[in-house]
């Protein structure tokens, strides 16, 4: 009797352990395919880049051969072109992101009126958004051409120019920002429009009754309510903008004189044109660390923002 009871208990415990194990594995099996792929193509390559960045790369076998410590890093940090490229990237981010955010939310606020063609207009804004960046760069290069371009012809009609938009070092980055803004503002407009539609109407009606003017409604009601979405959109745009590559490649190839040579393009050229894989890996690691830290900071900021609200 006692023996069977104890037996029962152990089998019971064993089956419970087994059930828990089955439960555990069934939960994690959902993660498995993504985990395997991401490990193979995301985690492993990052570590491999890290290894190459501390090695000399044997170009005969394309493998990291000899540990050289911080050599590649010190070479990169002494390279003026690297610093210029970082600076160019910084300028791009510093101008493009705020301009796109302000324009996107501003336009969405401006055109926010209920009418029957609203869905059509909204659909039109999708179109620039799905134009491949490399196509955007090429087409804008054509429009801005100093000799045959449409833009300079129009400006010439009102007595300006011709301006070599992409060929003037001081102007080229501003032009890249314009092209990027053309490509990405519709994205912000669409998100902002959806966000504006989801705002509670009664608050605005109450403000109308209180006689609040246009500015008060924007500044004291809409903006605070939209703040979390603005922050989230900013992070999404930031995650895209740090990868800036295609538009510059198609429009200027980094020129003139490196004025638009954003860091991704610079690393790409160093790796695949001059075959300096070790040094470009060191640069990639530096960029990776900076991007991760800033992204982490933005995410932390958003969480704080949500806590406050």
């Amino acid at each position: 009797m006692a023996i069977t009871a104890m037996d029962n208990q152990t089998t019971h415990r064993r089956s419970r352990t087994r059930a828990r194990l089955a439960d555990f594995s069934s939960r994690w099996s959902f993660m498995l395919p993504a985990a395997i792929i991401l490990f193979a193509v995301l985690v492993y390559p990052i570590f491999y880049t890290l290894q190459i960045s501390f090695s000399r790369l044997d170009l005969a076998s394309f493998t990291a051969s000899q540990w050289v410590g911080w050599d590649n890093y010190s070479t990169v940090l002494r390279d003026d072109r690297f610093w210029q490229s970082m600076q160019v990237t910084g300028i791009y981010l510093l101008f493009a992101l705020p301009i796109q955010m302000v324009l996107g939310f501003g336009i969405a606020y401006l055109i926010n009126a209920p009418w029957k063609g609203r869905d059509v207009v909204r659909a039109l804004f999708i179109i620039p958004m799905v134009v491949a960046p490399v196509v955007a760069g090429g087409v804008w290069r054509m429009i801005l051409d100093p000799l045959w371009g449409l833009m300079n012809y129009w400006l010439g009609q009102i007595g300006i120019g011709p301006i070599d938009w992409l060929g003037t070092p001081s102007l080229a980055m501003a032009t890249i920002v314009i092209i990027d803004t053309w490509r990405w503002t519709p994205f912000v407009i669409l998100i902002a429009t959806a966000a504006l539609l989801s705002l509670p109407k009664d608050v605005f009606e109450a403000a109308d009754i209180d006689g609040a003017n246009w500015w008060t409604k924007l500044w004291s009601i809409a903006l605070p309510l939209l703040l979390p979405i603005i922050a989230a959109t900013f992070v999404v745009r930031w995650l895209g903008a740090v990868k800036m590559f295609d538009i510059v490649l198609a429009a200027t190839l980094g020129g003139p004189g490196g004025a638009t040579n954003v860091i991704n393009l610079f690393i790409y050229e160093q790796a695949f044109r001059t075959l300096r894989f070790a040094e470009s890996s060191a640069m990639a690691v530096i960029v990776l660390v900076i991007t991760m830290v800033l992204t982490g900071a933005f995410l932390f900021g958003i969480r704080k923002l949500e806590d406050v609200q």
Binding site: R27, F30, M31, P33, A34, I37, V41, L42, Y44, P45, I46, Y48, L57, S61, L110, I111, A113, W115, R118, V121, R122, L124, I127, V130, V131, A132, V134, V135, A136, G138, V139, M142, W148, G149, Y153, T185, F187, L190, I191, A194, A232, T233, W238, V242, K243, F245, L249, A250, I263, N264, Y268, F272, F277, S280, A284, V287, T291, T295, L299, I302
Partner: protein, 287 residues
């Protein structure tokens, strides 16, 4: 009485004027944003003598000469096929793997789900160039360059985290009782996911799939690095044409290939625009 009515009617008049102003500025801004695309399509149907004119011409005898010539010279049919294979292949793999993982993050009380979520968002900031160098070296070592599967897996690096994040949002929004009742009825966890959750989340899954296809469709960096001939995609051809300074500006080829590349995606996007906008807004806001 007339004195009474005046302020109200001016008020109404001003309100109506503001509304008209909003509507028309919306239309005008949309057209301004569309103009470069319109100009691209227009130029693609011009003969060279109509492309390089002063003033630039809007009216001309349309021709498809440029298309006929460059479709073969830039190897477009094969590239288009490659682009379709790679973008749909990577999007499908990502939607299955990322969808399941997103479901686990949202619903299955995985230990450290919050941490994994943050890691996932962080991973979307990894610069592709940091992955392209090792991928190229490894692919080269194992003879895997210029193969579709290599590019498909490379695209998974940004598609899976993107899909996981979006789908996590969709699944979090579904009522919890759904799969609980199914599991009480004897469904396994996986059975409940396939039979109950997936059908309900279908609109979200489809919009995510479409967005993934578009993201892969226009990708350039990995395609430049990992392919050279057999598996090369249309964006690579586009980059070549745009950057070709030796032969001078070839705007006919640029606009024709550009149009070929953009038109399918635009049609695709417009067909599903309602879901697309929803997915876009969710992707940016749900966290």
């Amino acid at each position: 009485m007339t004195l009474d009515a005046t302020p109200a009617s001016t008020h109404r008049f001003r309100r109506n004027l503001a509304r008209q102003l909003r509507i028309w500025s919306g239309v005008v801004i949309a057209l301004v944003f569309l103009f470069p695309i319109f100009w691209m399509v227009l130029t693609s149907f011009k003969m060279p003598k109509d492309i390089f004119t002063t003033p630039p011409t809007f009216f001309f005898q349309p021709t498809i000469d440029t298309y006929v010539e460059y479709i073969w010279r830039a190897d477009i049919p094969r590239r288009l096929l490659n682009t379709v294979i790679v973008s749909f292949g990577s999007a499908l793999i990502s939607i299955v793997a990322g969808g399941m993982a997103g479901y686990a993050l949202a619903r299955l009380r995985i230990r450290g789900a919050g941490f994994l979520g943050t890691l996932l968002l962080l991973s979307r900031g990894v610069p592709p160039i940091a992955l392209a160098v090792p991928m190229f070296l490894v692919a080269r070592k194992f003879g895997l360059t210029d193969k579709h599967i290599t590019l498909i897996l490379a695209y998974c690096t940004f598609l899976i985290p993107y899909v996981m994040w979006l789908m996590r949002g969709f699944f979090l929004a579904l009522p919890k009782e759904l799969e609980e009742s199914a599991m009480i009825d004897g469904c396994s966890r996986f059975g409940a996911f396939i039979k109950i959750i997936v059908p309900i989340a279908m609109p979200g899954i489809l919009s995510t799939l479409i967005f993934s296809v578009i993201l892969a469709w226009e990708e350039l960096l990995f395609a430049l690095v990992l392919t050279n001939r057999n598996a090369s995609t249309v964006p690579v051809a586009m980059a070549g044409i745009a950057g070709d300074t030796v032969n001078g500006a070839n705007w006919g080829a640029l606009t024709a290939v550009g149009t070929l590349m953009v038109v399918p995606v635009v049609i695709f996007a417009l067909l599903v625009q309602k879901w697309l906008v929803q997915g876009l807004a969710d992707g940016a806001t749900k966290g």
